[in-house]
């Protein structure tokens, strides 16, 4: 059996370069198989992406998507942490609510979108609502678990030190639950983004989702591939950053987490 040893940075770098090369090659092969009409080349896409980034029409769409996304994220985070905190603190409510939350989490929320449209009308409110709906559940679930899993011995220690309720909350309960809550926020980030994009793809007149759907209609592969690439890069990079923060907070390696699964 191979002995466990730490991978040195040069080895890691080689691994990532290899991964990168494999992905690019697979992409190029897919292009040769599918033809120009169906898929653009890696280099062509990158070139077009750069052109897109520099174009004037691109940024208003980005702004449309991200303003909706950020509001949705704020709502999902605040709401999720609050709900999760209450459910974690009050055992009975938490036990009653958990399967309900898990159930909502597992259904294809896309099917709820028409309901949201009927209630909010087409516009940014519906996007925000839909995005927030996606994010609030995992944040609530993770926060609930974080609060539940605070080691009782921490609270006892604080009691022995005669800490008042405010001090108990800010110097013990909050830091103790922070790593887990942060994981929830990280997952919520990705899901809220998905929700916002989805709502745009279905019914919107601006934003990146709209750009994509529009491009399908016009069979514009360049736009489709480059917007997809830019979105994937953005989401991937931000998530990688959040993941590193997550590991740091946990002060231990974090395995690839499921979406709360």
């Amino acid at each position: 059996m191979t002995a466990r040893r730490r991978w040195t940075p040069p080895e890691q770098l080689v691994d990532w370069l290899v991964l990168f090369a494999v992905l690019i090659t697979a992409w190029q092969l897919a292009h040769w198989w599918a033809g120009d009409v169906a898929m653009t080349t890696p280099f062509g896409t990158i070139a077009y992406s750069v052109k897109t980034l520099l174009s004037a029409e691109f940024w208003p769409n980005v702004w449309a998507t991200f303003s909706a996304f950020l509001i949705a994220l704020a709502l999902a985070s605040a709401g999720g942490v609050l709900i999760g905190g209450i459910l974690g603190y009050h055992r009975l409510s938490g036990e009653v609510a958990e399967p309900i939350l898990v159930g909502i989490y597992s259904i294809p929320k896309v099917t709820l979108y028409p309901i949201i449209l009927l209630f909010f009308g087409i516009g940014i409110e519906a996007e925000v609502a839909f995005g927030a709906l996606h994010g609030i559940i995992p944040i609530a679930l993770f926060t609930m678990n974080a609060v539940r899993n605070i080691k009782p011995v921490f609270i006892k220690t604080a009691l022995v030190m005669r800490l008042g309720p405010r001090e108990l909350f800010f110097s013990v309960l909050m830091p103790a639950s922070m790593p887990e809550v942060f994981t929830g926020l990280r997952v919520g980030f990705s899901l809220t983004l998905i929700g916002t994009l989805l709502s745009e793809m279905f019914g919107s007149r601006s934003g990146l989702g709209f750009m994509l759907m529009n491009a399908i209609g016009m069979h514009d592969m360049d736009v489709i591939m480059s917007v997809t690439l830019l979105l994937a890069l953005f989401a991937g990079l931000i998530n990688a950053g959040l993941l590193m923060l997550d590991r740091h907070l946990h002060r231990a390696p974090v395995q690839a987490t499921m979406l709360g699964g």
Binding site: W16, V96, I107, P108, L198, L212, A232, M258
Partner: protein, 252 residues
């Protein structure tokens, strides 16, 4: 018993919610064109099912989900086993797996439509892509947790590697593999129905979208409720199985 009391409370919460929404609709506090009363939704579902109008859509959606599910479980499981055996590959792929779900898989849907046309294939692929990572991650998770001491016990007993794999590794990792399948089912549904919704020409998701565009609230809500109930029942059943399995092992 405490457990039963929690269940009773939960059912009470759900019934109360149902009644509240029903009353809000019946008394016009929620406009009819926004939402129809839940009771009418239920009647609508029964009507649709009995009339057989749903059959074609159900067949499309369920068959797509089924294919995506089977493919993702087989490929995901195999990939998980392979990745687990080669530590270097694991280290390389790990960042990909960790950030996999941060990229909205649906953004690739347009690409597949262009590639395969507006058939069932793009949504199956999306369902597959959505589910396969969950299977891989949970397979890896399960294989990770096998205490080396169990494998050592097998070797001391003189078991062959295949024997150990089948009689020790597999049963031990079973609850995690179960989790993997449970998630694969949920995600296949999300992937397929979501795709049908965004752009498709048949299937349950498509029918909802069609009903919406035609201001047919009755059909729309009935379908939505039907899908939600259907998927919910499946997921909750699997979830409680999973809990029992985990509890027996002392994990829950």
């Amino acid at each position: 018993m405490r457990v039963k009391r929690v269940t009773k409370l939960r059912i009470l919460v759900l019934i109360v919610s149902f009644v509240v929404v029903e009353l809000l609709c019946q008394f016009g506090l929620i406009a009819r064109f926004t939402m129809i009363p839940p009771s009418e939704m239920v009647i609508g579902i029964v009507g649709l099912l009995l009339s057989g109008k749903l059959n074609e859509d159900m067949a499309t959606t369920l068959s797509s989900v089924g294919i995506a599910l089977v493919a993702s479980v087989i490929v995901g499981f195999a990939a998980g086993v392979v990745i687990h055996s080669f530590r270097r590959v694991r280290r390389t792929i790990d960042p990909l797996l960790a950030t996999y779900y941060s990229v909205p898989v649906f953004v690739f849907y347009p690409i597949f439509i262009v590639l395969f046309g507006l058939t069932d294939i793009p949504k199956i692929v999306i369902g597959f892509l959505y589910a396969v990572a969950a299977v891989v991650i949970n397979t890896l998770n399960g294989l990770d947790r096998i205490p080396p001491v169990l494998v050592k016990t097998g070797r001391i007993m003189g078991m062959t590697r295949i024997d150990i794999a089948l009689r020790i590794v597999l049963p031990f990792a079973a609850p995690y593999l179960f989790t993997a399948v449970k998630l694969a089912i949920a995600y296949s549904f999300i992937g397929v129905i979501g795709s049908e919704f965004i752009l498709s020409n048949r299937g349950l998701g498509y029918s909802i979208s069609y009903a919406y565009n035609n201001f047919d609230n009755l059909t729309m809500y009935s379908l939505i409720l039907f899908i939600l109930t259907f998927v919910l029942i499946i997921n909750m059943t699997l979830h409680s199985w999973e809990k029992k399995l985990m509890q027996r092992r002392g994990f829950a």
